[in-house]
Amino acid sequence: MKGTCVVYRKELYRLFASPIFYVVAFIFLALVGYFFYSSVAYYSLLSFQAGRTPFLSEQLNLTDMVLEPFFGSISVVLLLMVPLITMRLFAEEKKTGTVELLFTYPISDRGAVLGKFTAGVTVLTLLAATLPAMFLLEAFTNPPWPTIMAGYLGLLLTCSAFVSLGLFASSLTQNQIIAAAIAFGALLLLWIIIASNPFSRVTRGSFLKYLSLLTHFDSFARGILDSRDVFFYLLFTLFFLFTTLRILESRHWRG
């Protein structure tokens, strides 16, 4: 793992130095802000109505009405934004030739991959940490903090899964747009693998369900901490980090 820390610091600096991050951050926060506003507005509207119909008020709760859609929308926006952050990680170094510098320093391949991965996760987690919205809720009501914690843990795991796939896509090519397209396509496919299946009713128990990122995120968004989901995300991340490493090593045997 020699050089992880060095590469991490360099990547973090370069991610923050690039305009891509700020554009992505702006769009991300604007979208997420809008989703948050609309779900809170809808919730408050229903709350007023519930005042007259006690039957409805029993069904109203913050987790179902605000938190779950909020975390869901963050994860979908992340899906769109992560490829833009990760696309340059290896592709740009290959294009500009700095990869020659990187791999002739005494830094191991593992160190480079891990450094870039952790830098990507750090940046995206900072982005996804939309805690001010949660404190806003705290000002008006009594939000269920354990649920919120579970949601953010889910987001952290989602970020790491997305970044590992993005890193893998970036290691395949020296063209950033191709890297982004591969990452986006693969993430979207894995996200909606169930919804897009016309036989989803028939094959509800099929293994496709377990491959979908969506099913595994849902429980986090509802505040359920299921070890199966945690393991799924960790394995997903490890798998793509491993594949990235193999792709990098292939330069040693490819002609």
Binding site: K10, Y13, E100, L101, T104, P106, G255
Partner: protein, 314 residues
């Protein structure tokens, strides 16, 4: 210090290096010379562990480049061709990254960066973004990062390309100075540069080493015939006849000048005194008489074209 045995590298069906072997001793400055696409960069990339050879072995300080990649990389300072740098980092930040990557301790880091910046005279641009700097500065930053952590071996791929004449002179003297205590391999396709800096030259063409020796020996070895430049005021045909008739003269060629000639004599025979006497005794005016050194350039051309001619015959 560096041992290379039967190195072969294929890019698909393209042969970049074939059966290259050479040795570089400690403290030597060796120049890799060859036309573009000869395999210089490939050889250097294998030595710096960036890519493995298809077959053969490269050893640096007794360590195999493939098996002990990280240790080897720690001993080498490398300036890649075209000097890839991170354009969105300042000079100081980039050097700090490079120093940390090379394992310079945090306590020594600042001092080490100041040292290499001073040596390469880039202190004035320490806080500027690399992307905004001229080619000359970037080249020197490239050399500066190679010098970090004081490596025992420096591998420089075309170190003076893109520099202005004064910078070239500076870099050359810098390399010479560094070479006093280090092993240096540099590649170039500029001949005078290599002959000035290097103690030994490896001429590489089409992936093969075609000659290796000191610049002086190479010149001596390949000088088949001596050429004497002669400028005489006198009737052209008569001068040519008389000189051609002298013993030891192989050929007389008139040059572009009105009254100048190139006299070719066999090797090891300096005919200048005889030439002077003949001219004076014939009553002509001797203007100029000098021995023409076969330049390294000529040798290079000879080697490279010989090789190509040989290949065509195959």
């Amino acid at each position: 210090m560096i041992e290379v045995d039967n190195l072969t590298k294929l890019y698909g069906s393209l042969v970049a290096l074939r059966q290259v072997s050479f040795r570089v001793d400690q403290g030597e400055i060796v120049g890799f010379l060859g036309p573009n696409g000869a395999g210089k960069t490939t050889a250097l990339r294998i030595l710096t562990c960036f890519m493995p050879p298809t077959s053969g072995t490269a050893r640096v300080a007794g360590l195999d480049c493939q098996q002990h990649s990280l240790e080897v990389r720690g001993k080498i300072g490398y300036l890649p061709e075209n000097v890839p740098l991170y354009p969105d980092m300042t000079t100081r930040r980039f050097l700090a990254f490079a120093a940390a990557a090379k394992g310079v301790s945090r306590a020594r880091c600042g001092q080490e960066i100041e040292r290499v910046m001073e040596v390469c005279t880039v202190t004035s641009v320490a806080e500027r973004l690399i992307g905004h700097l001229s080619k000359g500065y970037r080249q020197r930053i490239g050399i500066a990062q190679a010098l970090l952590n004081d490596p025992a071996i420096l591998i420089l791929d075309e170190p003076t390309i893109g520099l202005d004449p004064t910078q070239i002179v500076e870099i050359r003297s810098l390399i010479k100075k560094l070479g006093a205590e280090r092993t240096i391999i540099l590649s170039s396709h500029i001949l005078p540069e290599v002959s000035q800096i290097c103690q030994r030259i490896l001429i590489i063409n089409n992936g093969q080493i075609v000659a290796t020796d000191t610049p002086a020996n190479l010149t001596a070895q390949l000088q088949r015939n001596l050429q004497v430049y002669l400028e005489v005021e006198g009737p052209r045909t008569e001068v040519m006849q008389k000189v051609e008739a002298m013993a030891g003269v192989l050929e007389v060629k008139p040059t572009n000048g009105e009254s100048s000639y190139l006299v070719e004599t066999s090797r090891g025979q300096d005919l200048r005194p005889e030439l002077a006497r003949t001219v004076v005794e014939s009553g002509w005016q001797l203007r100029e008489l000098k021995l023409q050194d076969l330049s390294l350039e000529d040798i290079f051309m000879q080697l490279v074209t010989d090789e190509e001619a040989g290949e065509e015959q195959e």
